[in-house]
């Protein structure tokens, strides 16, 4: 495997102590580059495949020495090429904390846009005894997906909008491939979590959620279905190349109503990492 350790890819960030990207304590590797362009994306800096400078004008101290390096936080480079081994070195700093279900999550961007790199990271992590998870938008071919997932212990994937036209409008792409893949996931031998980001006035009605929950319910390997309420974090990120629109977050009541709907199909529903209990059980 000597030569394969040199496989490299674009990484935007490695977040340690990640509490929301899978079970236990995890290190989440955010790869750079995505094949979708969701208007509400909370990680817009991971959309472009290239290195870029994030710009936060409020932090500029007007020293006039930008070329010699910016230290004020006004211009922050985003994206660095790393080898899979380098990624692992950083991930293994927290190896001792990965007991009880923790591990590595490769996220993005879309990790399957860098399939060899993603697979290699997961392979090396497994070799080191670390639980592996991947977050995907499923907008890739079954071949690519199945290849990458050979090294994953858990898949967390999104199905954002069921209606194709609406999906195209808000994400820039059709959802046909995603829905096909969603059915194909039943053949996998690993657990799957299906998630839907809920954005007010975009996909916050039971009619939006029910068909997705129905597809999720067909998966024998489904751990649970999760609703992720929209937040505006992405707007605070100083990306140069993408204009983001401010949406509204769904109300708590809306989320509960959606969860109740979804529970008609699936056994377990989560809202933002918290297990939703039926009204009668509360």
């Amino acid at each position: 495997m000597v030569e394969t350790t040199e496989i490299s890819g674009m990484v935007s960030n490695i977040q340690r102590s990640s509490m929301h990207d899978g079970p236990g304590i995890r290190s989440t590797v955010f790869l750079k580059g995505c094949n979708m362009n969701c208007q509400w994306c909370h990680n817009p800096e991971t959309i472009s495949f290239s290195e870029e400078l994030l710009f936060y004008p409020d932090k500029c101290i007007h020293c006039g020495l930008c070329e010699q390096g910016c230290f004020s936080g006004a211009k922050v480079p985003c994206g660095r090429r790393m080898t899979a081994t380098e990624v692992l070195e950083e991930v293994l700093l927290d190896a001792a904390y990965y007991q009880n279900g923790g591990g590595i999550t490769v996220s993005g961007g879309e990790p399957c846009c860098q399939p060899r790199f993603t697979k290699e990271i997961l392979y090396l992590a497994r070799l080191a005894g670390v639980h592996t998870a991947i977050e995907s938008n499923l907008n890739v071919s079954v071949d690519v997906l199945s290849e990458v997932l050979t090294e994953a212990d858990l898949l967390m994937c999104d199905c954002k909008i069921f209606d194709e036209e609406k999906h195209r409008k808000y994400t820039g792409v059709s959802n046909r491939q995603i829905l096909q893949n969603l059915e194909w996931l039943s053949t996998l031998k690993i657990p799957v979590i299906i998630r839907t980001p809920v954005i007010a006035a975009v996909n916050d009605t039971p009619d939006d959620i029910l068909p997705i929950a129905k597809l999720a319910a067909n998966l024998p390997n489904l751990l649970y279905y999760e609703l992720l309420p929209y937040h505006a974090l992405g707007l605070s990120k100083g990306t140069v190349n993408s204009e983001k629109i401010k949406f509204d977050a769904p109300s708590r009541e809306t989320l509960y109503a959606l969860a109740e709907s979804a529970l008609q199909q699936v056994k377990e529903v989560y809202i933002a990492s918290k297990k939703y209990k039926k009204t009668a059980e509360k």
């Binding site: 340690r16 236990g24 101290i61 918290k274």
Partner: protein
């Protein structure tokens, strides 16, 4: 009239405590310290100490004993029919002793002061308490038995008559103080109309009649006895060291349960009352010398009692390999549920390094329990002065940096700076050691520990103060400013030596001018964005390990006479503001006079993601290794607990930090919006409790600077 249940009574007591907090704030202004469980003073209260003629201080055995007697005679009584035990303290003798003046006048140490000031050393000279009583001594004898013990040894050691006389006066004063409370209980009983309160007032009366002289026999009596000792010990010298409460009380609990005198609900009420009376530091559970877990039913009930009270408490759970997982889970759950900063968690593995000190057995090391802000002590045997002696190492760094830069002939490098730091550190440790020796020589004459002596080994037996006869004098010497120094070295190595972005002279000019101007600010931000301590395998991490090793080595190298040993640790207490005022601008990008880093914690902003795992790993790696603590102070968002697996994640961080050798973990669970609002208008949140460092305090009673310290750390930490 419906009968008040025990939980309802605790709820009312909690509300009363909040009223007390508001009143105390009005009376005292900002407190910047532990809540202690004190009650407000009556408006007409006044204490006039008995000073020496023409002096404004007193000292020595008899003077302390007489003043203590006089103090207790005038101290307000406290009996509340809602409670089942009585007693509370409102004022303390140290406010009136003029101890520093006694030292300056009678036992001066002028020759040490120049270097102490130069290196900003908190010498510990004159420090009181900060060791741990062996409560089993008092519980086996009672106050009457202690009086007999004093008289017994007085006859054997007639040359120590003055010492014994002072101890006799002290115990008699305590007995009389209890006696006055007995009368007060009787008065309350006459007035009380509610049957359930009358019933517990009767129990209170009987328990106090028993423990006024006799040794406690029942669970209630044992708790009341401990409450009395804690109250008078606080009054005498603010002593807050408790005991392994669950283990100590278990025989009383078991006996009363078997006799049908007690059930768990009543036991919990009694324990809540004990915790309400004073915020002494108690360790819960632990392991014996054969690694057997010591958790018992009372361990749970004490946590439950604190949960009922839902206010300030200082409970520490010792995490060891065989800890009852359910008990640990209960502790972490309450930490998140109540958000009062308790329990804290100590790390068995790191603390067992205490065995590296001369003559310390495994059994002693295990018995060295958490009884203070950041510290542990062996009950009855040790006089550690823990948390009393501190060296501002950041100040020494500042001095060393200036020495190198101002010497035209000196090589300018991090290696050279490190060697200058080493030289100054050696001098600072030496003068610290001399201060400790001065204290150990003089303290017995200035301020004998007349109350705590009662429950120490060899004190009454030999007629000596504990500062003289302690079998273990493993004195803690805490360093201050580790993160500041480590990040400064890392920034210099990275920006000057490796990247050559700035020169030594440019750095010096920027530091000298406190990073003034745009260019100064640019340099500051460059330094600040260097590889920091707790980032993980960073230059800052490497320097922190190196500096901590150097510090530990210099403290250990300083040989002391007899059984005295110096033990290194990193702990600033909450004095980061005061220490920071003595330190100029530093190469970590810190402005002159601003706080230095807290305890063993990194600089705020050490990582963008603020990863607790990174901090826990970094702090575990700089432990000084002789059984004193370098605490991990960490903040979590309360939302973590509501998430699936949230509690387990926090537990994992605790366990891993302890596995890696971490010694103490202080945690705040704070709601971001609440803490920000409370900072703007503290009195809107009189019940908000935070763990400032090792101690918990009501947020509203903290000064704006202290509040900022907590807010900054919290906002950065999540």
């Amino acid at each position: 009239m419906e009968k008040l249940s025990y939980p309802e009574r605790v709820k009312f007591l909690r509300e009363k405590k909040i009223e007390h907090t508001i009143k105390k704030k009005e009376q005292n202004g900002y407190m910047d310290g532990d809540d202690y469980g004190t009650v407000p003073l009556p408006p007409d209260y006044e204490f006039k100490p008995m000073y020496f003629a023409d002096k404004d201080f007193f000292f020595g055995d008899i003077s302390y004993a007489l003043n203590f007697k006089h103090f207790l005679e005038g101290h307000p009584l406290y009996v509340d029919p809602l409670e089942i035990m009585c007693g509370r303290w409102a004022d303390m003798l140290p406010h009136y002793t003029g101890r520093d003046k006694a030292y300056d006048t009678v036992y001066p140490y002028e020759e040490l002061k120049p270097l102490q000031e130069k290196y900003d050393i908190v010498s510990g000279i004159g420090a009181d308490a900060h060791f741990a009583c062996d409560y089993s001594i008092g519980l086996q004898l009672g106050f009457g038995g202690l009086l007999e013990k004093i008289r017994h040894y007085k006859a054997i050691n007639p040359e120590k008559e003055e010492f014994y006389l002072a101890e006799e006066i002290t115990v008699q004063a305590i007995i009389d103080f209890i006696g006055r409370h007995i009368e007060e209980i009787r008065r309350c009983l006459e007035k009380e109309t509610r049957p359930e309160l009358k019933e517990t007032l009767e129990e209170m009366l009987e328990a106090n009649k028993s423990v006024q002289y006799g040794k406690p026999e029942t669970f209630l009596e044992a708790c009341q006895w401990i409450a009395w000792f804690n109250t008078v010990s606080r009054i005498y010298d603010r002593d807050g060291a408790g005991c392994n409460l669950d283990i100590l009380l278990y025989p009383y609990y078991e006996k009363d349960i078997q006799k049908g005198l007690l059930d768990d609900e009543k036991a919990t009420f009694i324990l809540a009352n004990l915790l309400l009376i004073d915020t002494h530091y108690y360790q819960l559970s632990g392991a014996d010398e054969e690694d057997k877990d010591l958790t018992n039913r009372l361990s749970y009930l004490i946590l439950d009692a604190a949960h009922w009270l839902n206010c300030s408490a200082n409970l520490t759970i010792r995490i060891h390999d065989n800890i009852d997982p359910e008990f640990l889970r209960r502790g972490v759950t309450y930490l998140f549920e109540d958000r009062n900063g308790w329990p804290r968690f100590s790390g068995d593995k790191g603390l067992m390094n205490y065995q590296k000190n001369e003559g310390i057995t495994r059994k002693i090391a295990r018995n060295r329990i958490a009884v203070g802000c950041n510290w542990m002590a062996v009950p009855g045997l040790e006089y550690p002065l823990n948390d009393c002696v501190k060296i501002n190492v950041a100040r020494i760094f500042d001095i060393s940096f200036h020495e190198m830069m101002e010497d035209a002939d000196s090589e300018k490098s991090t290696a050279r700076l490190f060697s200058i730091l080493e030289k100054h550190l050696e001098i600072a440790v030496d003068v610290t050691a001399k201060g400790i020796l001065h204290h150990l020589t003089c303290q017995q004459y200035v301020m004998p520990e007349l109350v705590m002596n009662l429950m120490m080994k060899d004190t009454l037996e030999t007629g000596q103060d504990i500062s003289v006869c302690a079998r273990l004098k493993t004195v803690g010497v805490d360093g201050v400013g580790l993160g500041t120094i480590a990040d400064s070295f890392a920034a210099m190595e990275q920006r000057i030596e490796k990247e050559k972005r700035i020169s030594w002279e440019e750095l010096f000019q920027a530091v000298e001018h406190n990073f003034e101007g745009t260019q100064g600010e640019r340099i500051r931000l460059m330094l600040k964005s260097s590889e920091r301590y707790c980032q993980g395998s960073s230059l800052g991490d490497e320097w922190a390990v190196r500096i901590s090793k150097l510090y530990a080595c210099k403290v250990r190298e300083r040989k002391m006479p007899g059984v005295i040993e110096l033990i290194p640790g990193w702990f600033s207490w909450s004095s980061t503001i005061a220490f920071g005022e003595k330190v100029g601008a530093t190469a970590d990008g810190r402005f002159a006079g601003t706080p230095v880093t807290h305890g063993a914690n990194p600089n705020p902003g050490f990582r963008q993601d603020g990863a607790p795992t990174a901090m826990a790993t970094g702090i575990a790696s700089i432990q000084t290794g002789y059984g004193n603590t370098c605490p991990l102070q960490i903040e979590f968002d309360p939302k973590v607990s509501a998430e699936q697996g949230g509690i387990e994640r926090v537990e994992q961080i605790l366990r891993t930090h302890v596995d890696k050798g971490g010694t103490l973990i202080n945690i705040n669970i704070l709601d971001k919006d609440k803490i920000l609002k409370a900072n703007e208008d503290p009195m809107q949140y009189p019940d908000l409790v935070v763990r400032v460092t090792g101690f918990t305090a009501y947020f509203a009673t903290l000064s704006p600077q202290f509040r900022k310290l907590v807010v900054d750390r919290f906002i950065d930490g999540i």
